[in-house]
Structure formats: structure tokens, C-alpha cells
């Protein structure tokens, strides 16, 4: 597994020749590490022509009417963004073992496997930290969350904000959570097309 591709990019852009091991330390530094991720996400938007004004306009457009990401993000940006999901798998976390189909019409949100691995490493067994990073309420994930891995990533795409799980208060255009975590959406996944395991053995 790659060592936090997103975080590695931050280091290369901002600090030149630093190495992945420094990134691990950066992530382990807690709030500062998360701040770097936010900085990185916003910088990438600007470099790709997504201005603050444009992003705000999209954010406050009614759900169902938000434009497709392909209309305001470059093909290169989208390809790079989605590659880590294709390389490292698409995952979700939840408090209980999944049953039946996961997600609904419009797609369900996923993280890339390497990003979740970074978060778990940073959290060091503290589920509250994971909940905080993912913008969840305390206790949402229980004591030993389930990691669901979705095998087929052929429908992976950048969220448009029209998804039923996109909350206007938190959702931002560009494929990152408000906390700077890379996100994507995938078509609903029927039972048999995902595997799951507890986060802590």
C-alpha cells in the first residue's frame, strides 16, 4: 500500500524535498497535520481554476441542480484524484456489520484505502479522533468500527453534491471533505460485492 499519497503530495509541493517519513510525522502531529491537508486541498482547487467564489456558488446551489464536477474541474485533476481509489480501494467505515445494499440512488461516499490507513495510524486506537477527522458525531462509529471495502471501483467519481448523503453544511466541491480528506462517490453496492472487517483485531 502506498504511504498516504495525498499527504505525500503536500510535502512535495510545500516543502520540496521532504520524505514520506516526515509526512507520517506530520500526520501524527494531529491538528497541524490536518491543517496541512486543508491547505493542500484548497491549493489544488485554485491551481485547477476553481476560485473561492465559484466554489461558494456551487456549494449554495440547491441539491439536484449542482453542476457535474466535469464542468468545473479539469480532466487531469479528476483522473489524479480518482487514481488512489483505483489503486488502494474504496472504503467506508460504519459502526455495525453491513447488510444488503450499501448506499442509494445518486451514489454513496467513499474514502481511498490509503487515506483511511493514514487516519487509523494517526488515531492510534482512538475512535473519537477518527470520528472527529471524518466530521462525525462522537459515538457514531462505536468502539470497534467496521471497514467496508468495495471491490468494483468502475463507477468511482468526484461527488457533485447532489448525493443524498451530501450535507450542505459540510459538503464542498472538489472531492475533499471539510477536514481535507479525499472523497469520492460510487454506485450503490449490493451484498457480495463488498468485504468487511473490524478496524481493530
Amino acid at each position: 500500500m502506498m504511504a498516504g499519497a495525498g499527504a505525500l503530495d503536500v510535502t512535495m509541493r510545500v516543502n520540496g524535498s521532504r520524505t514520506a517519513s516526515v509526512v507520517t510525522g506530520m500526520i501524527a502531529s494531529g491538528a497541524a497535520g490536518r491543517g496541512w491537508k486543508k491547505y493542500y486541498a484548497w491549493n489544488r482547487f485554485r491551481e485547477n481554476g476553481l476560485s473561492y467564489e465559484k466554489a461558494e456558488k456551487i456549494k449554495y446551489t440547491d441539491k439536484g441542480k449542482k453542476p457535474a464536477p466535469e464542468t468545473y474541474l479539469s480532466e487531469d485533476y479528476i483522473k489524479k484524484h480518482l487514481q488512489s481509489f483505483r489503486d488502494n480501494g474504496a472504503v467506508k467505515v460504519m459502526p455495525n456489520e453491513p447488510r444488503g445494499t450499501i448506499g442509494g440512488k445518486g451514489g454513496t461516499f467513499v474514502m481511498s484505502g490509503d487515506e483511511l490507513a493514514d487516519i487509523i495510524q494517526y488515531a492510534d486506537g482512538d475512535v473519537a479522533k477518527i470520528e472527529s477527522i471524518l466530521g462525525l458525531e462522537p459515538g457514531d462509529l462505536g468502539n470497534n468500527p467496521i471497514i467496508v471495502t468495495i471491490k468494483d471501483t468502475s463507477s468511482i467519481r468526484i461527488p457533485s453534491g447532489n448525493e443524498l448523503g451530501a450535507w450542505p453544511k459540510y459538503w464542498k466541491p472538489g472531492g475533499y471533505t471539510s477536514g481535507g480528506i479525499k472523497e469520492a462517490v460510487i454506485d450503490p453496492v449490493s451484498e457480495g460485492n463488498y468485504t468487511y472487517k473490524h478496524m481493530f483485531e
Binding site: 439536484g64 467505515v93 442509494g104 440512488k105 466530521g135 443524498l164 450535507w167 450503490p188
Partner: protein, 71 residues
């Protein structure tokens, strides 16, 4: 709750003459929510299942996400 129809993870339910749409409102985790809808809206949903999705978006745009569903 009586299941009337289900389409792509969205359920139309009925209980004591009241109608509900149940869906996953979670982003990075599953968070089932249930919105109470009118009989007319329920009829529209049965006529065209796409209406369930559109109806949820309408309610969400009005700030209504529904009540949490505890399995």
C-alpha cells in the same frame, strides 16, 4: 411499517395511513433517515420511482432530512 416499493436503496413505507421515505443520508457512514410525506407524494412515488429521489432532494433543500432510523 409496510414496504410499498424499494428502488436503489430508497424505500417507500406505509404505517397507519402515514407514508414515509427511508434512505441513507450518511456521507462516510450509513445513517438511515425517514421523512414523512403526503399521500399525494406517495402516489407520485409509486407512479415513478425517480420521484422518491427528487422528493428527498426537495425536502433536503428545505432543510428537512428526516428522523433517524434505529434498526
Amino acid at each position: 411499517m409496510r414496504l410499498i416499493i424499494e428502488d436503489e436503496g430508497i424505500k417507500l413505507l406505509e404505517s397507519n395511513g402515514n407514508y414515509y421515505i427511508e434512505y441513507d443520508a450518511g456521507a462516510h457512514m450509513i445513517k438511515k433517515k425517514r421523512i414523512e410525506i403526503s399521500e399525494d407524494e406517495a402516489n407520485m412515488c409509486q407512479y415513478d420511482t425517480e420521484e422518491m429521489y427528487n422528493l428527498i432532494l426537495q425536502y433536503q433543500n428545505n432543510g428537512i432530512y428526516g428522523e433517524d432510523v434505529i434498526d
